[in-house]
């Protein structure tokens, strides 16, 4: 069963009641929420994702709710809890869906040490993966969204799950998070894309989520070996430029983008050195998405 098989009423009831067991790639998350924004967000962004039955094992149990007490009514807030523990700072009341997304990222990046988790977008074409590691604000998600509508399959927009033993990337298809100017940029670049509502004034500015294309969700169980590693940089002035990057710098970039490199010790070092040895590594600065997509078309 997938999320869109549930009627809106059934989905709401499940999220309010026993909870929804939502599969995203290798992870099953048990989600509860009474918030309309969360129900609508899941209905829109996870329409094609599998729903596991009540007896299935869930990796994490999370909820997004209004806090008890006055803050339920006066300038309302939302609280994210993992496993009943609400130790994250509450956010303003309309940020329920982004908070769910950030919370799910946190669950994976702080617990799923069976993977080497790197802050990076991953896309695939012809069986080969393209890794886009980059700090926030570098235009990684914008580029990822543009490629996702230009013949590449998205494995993940935010978290690259690398198998430390074999080196392949496991897909974790989830909505793509876009910020500020990127939102309109992608709206005009890919008019067929499905956007959720823009949420204003989050810690990251204005945020809108974009549903991952159906192909990304349907092929979630197909891993891919990284063949290209590209460190993107959005620049308002520069023409698109793809330049080879020294392997050592590519390696250090991965180390800095990894959430749990320290946890993997020697095997983490081996996995990342093997990755940069086998992948073509580039630095890429770009200004116009069309140019960027054309250059990536040349890969392969």
């Amino acid at each position: 069963m997938i999320v869109s098989d549930l009627t809106p009423r059934a989905l709401r009831q499940q999220l309010r009641g026993t909870g929804l067991r939502l599969r995203t790639g290798p992870i099953v998350t048990h989600i509860r929420s009474r918030l309309d924004a969360v129900v609508d967000g899941i209905s829109l962004h996870y329409a094609g994702h599998a729903v596991e039955d009540a007896a299935a094992f869930a990796d994490f149990s999370v909820s997004v709710e209004r806090p008890a007490g006055l803050r339920r009514w006066i300038s309302p807030q939302v609280v994210f809890s993992v496993d009943g523990d609400a130790s994250f700072a509450p956010l303003p009341g309309d940020q329920g869906f982004p908070m769910l997304e950030w919370g799910l990222n946190w669950c994976v990046s702080s617990h799923c040490h069976q993977f080497l988790v790197v802050h990076a977008a991953v896309l695939e074409r012809g069986g080969k993966a393209l890794l886009l590691p980059a700090p926030s604000g570098s235009g990684k998600s914008t580029l990822c969204a543009a490629l996702a509508f230009s013949g590449w399959r998205v494995l993940s927009d935010e978290l690259a799950l690398l198998d430390p033993q074999h080196g392949y990337a496991v897909a974790l298809p989830r909505p793509i998070s876009l910020k500020n100017e990127s939102i309109d940029l992608i709206r005009s670049f890919a008019p067929q894309a499905t956007f959720g509502p823009v949420v204003h004034e989050t810690v990251k500015g204005n945020v809108a989520h974009l549903r991952a294309p159906p192909d990304a969700v349907a092929r979630a169980d197909e891993p891919a070996f990284p063949a290209w590693l590209v460190s993107p940089r959005f620049s308002a002035t520069a023409e698109a430029r793809l330049e080879p990057m020294p392997k050592a710098r590519a390696f250090m970039g991965l180390v800095n983008s990894a959430f749990n490199y320290n946890v993997h010790g020697r095997s983490g070092f081996k996995a990342l050195t093997r990755l940069v040895d086998h992948a073509d590594c580039y630095e890429f600065s770009y200004h116009r998405l069309d140019d960027a997509v054309r250059i990536f078309d040349g890969f392969g």
Partner: protein, 376 residues
């Protein structure tokens, strides 16, 4: 003590501690339903025992049979634990290097000792810091040498500094400025102000050199067990209580294989003024984790038990506290039991007048030091 029966159907309201069951009777994990596996993984994670349970299951050849969902968490837990163990081994080398020129005896304590001495209690052990013991008269030079090598104190308020330095059994925790690792330097195993005062010189005298690590020692087996008990049953905060109890269980099973160990343990508890912790330690490991303890050792140690009705009350309190701290293991009285043990730990730590002053200061000052509030 507890009816740790597996529920026939998944019952979200039951307060069953599946971690205890997995530690005591690992074979029973074969009966777990998917929803019980979910509870076990969550309870184990919150108790810091994911990797320990994975190791226990592996020893019984049960790990390969764990369903894929929970198995991934065991893999993740073991990777994390082995990273922490590697880090502790590295830190010990750095500490030994920093202190080598002083040639003062350096004794590793708790998990650090279990790990470096390759004891079974290091199986799947997770770490948040390194613990060492030095003689009190060497404390100043040890601290100075550590500072030169990059360790800095963490508690910056004057009160906290004085609290540690005058009353506690350790320096304020040190943190390495580059590696961010934490180090506790002890000069005793209980606070200076505590009711029980095991003499450190006896511990240091009996310490045994660590093979392959010149200059480093660990406590003698009986002392190591008694320290583990003293620490656990004086702790004001029980969130790693079950983890510590499991350490104790593994220590007792390992050292207790030699029959002469038990008599030595009982005698040593008298010399070290630790008869009451020994009573609690033997009784609770046996009751909760099924640790094999000879009847005579149990009988002799129970002479140090509190009188009726306190004896039964303490059993109940420990049974509440020595569980996974996960919310699904809480019973109706658990909150009160934890509070009672918190008060008890403070009561044992300082004389009443001093405790009153300390609590008054803590209530009226808000420590600027981030870590300050949780320890002092």
């Amino acid at each position: 003590m507890d009816s740790d029966e597996l529920p026939s159907t998944a019952n979200a309201e039951s307060s069953l501690d599946l971690v205890r069951i997995a530690l005591r009777e690992p074979d029973r994990v074969r009966e777990l339903s998917a929803s019980s596996w979910e509870r076990l993984i969550r309870q184990a994670r919150s108790a810091g025992l994911l990797a320990r349970i994975a190791a226990v299951l592996e020893e019984r050849a049960l790990l390969a049979r764990v369903p894929a969902g929970p198995a991934a968490h065991f893999v993740a837990g073991r990777i994390l634990a082995s990273a922490q163990q590697e880090e502790v081994r590295r830190e010990v080398t750095h500490i030994a290097d920093a202190l080598r020129h002083l040639s003062v005896p350096l004794i590793l304590l708790k998990g650090t000792a279990y790990l470096l001495a390759d004891l079974p209690a290091a199986l799947g052990r997770t770490f948040s810091d390194v613990d060492v013991l030095v003689q009190k008269n060497h404390l100043a030079e040890v601290e100075a040498a550590l500072m030169l090598a990059g360790w800095a104190t963490t508690h910056h308020s004057e009160y906290d500094q004085r609290y540690y330095r005058r009353w506690m059994h350790e320096l304020p925790p040190l943190q390495h400025i580059r590696r961010q690792t934490l180090l506790d330097v002890h000069h005793a195993i209980l606070p200076e102000t505590a009711r029980l005062r095991p003499p450190s010189c006896k511990l240091i005298q009996a310490a045994e050199p660590l093979e392959g690590h010149p200059g480093l020692s660990v406590l003698a087996p009986a002392d190591m067990v008694l320290h583990s008990m003293a620490h656990l049953f004086h702790n004001e905060e029980m969130s790693s209580g079950l983890r510590d109890l499991s350490d104790l269980d593994l220590l007792l099973r390992h050292f207790g294989a030699r029959p002469e160990f038990w008599q030595g343990l009982v005698e040593r508890s008298k010399e070290l003024d630790l008869e009451r912790p020994l009573y609690y330690g033997l009784r609770q490991t046996q009751a909760i984790l099924g640790t094999p303890v000879p009847t005579t050792a149990l009988a002799i140690s129970s002479r140090a038990a509190p009188r009726w009705p306190l004896r039964g009350v303490m059993d109940r309190l420990w049974s509440h506290a020595l569980r996974s701290p996960h919310r699904t293991t809480r019973r109706p009285m658990t909150g009160m039991a934890l509070f009672a043990l918190y008060v008890r730990a403070h009561w044992l730590r300082m004389p009443p007048a001093q405790l009153a002053c300390h609590l008054a200061v803590k209530a009226t000052t808000r420590s600027l030091d981030r870590a300050g509030g949780s320890r002092g």
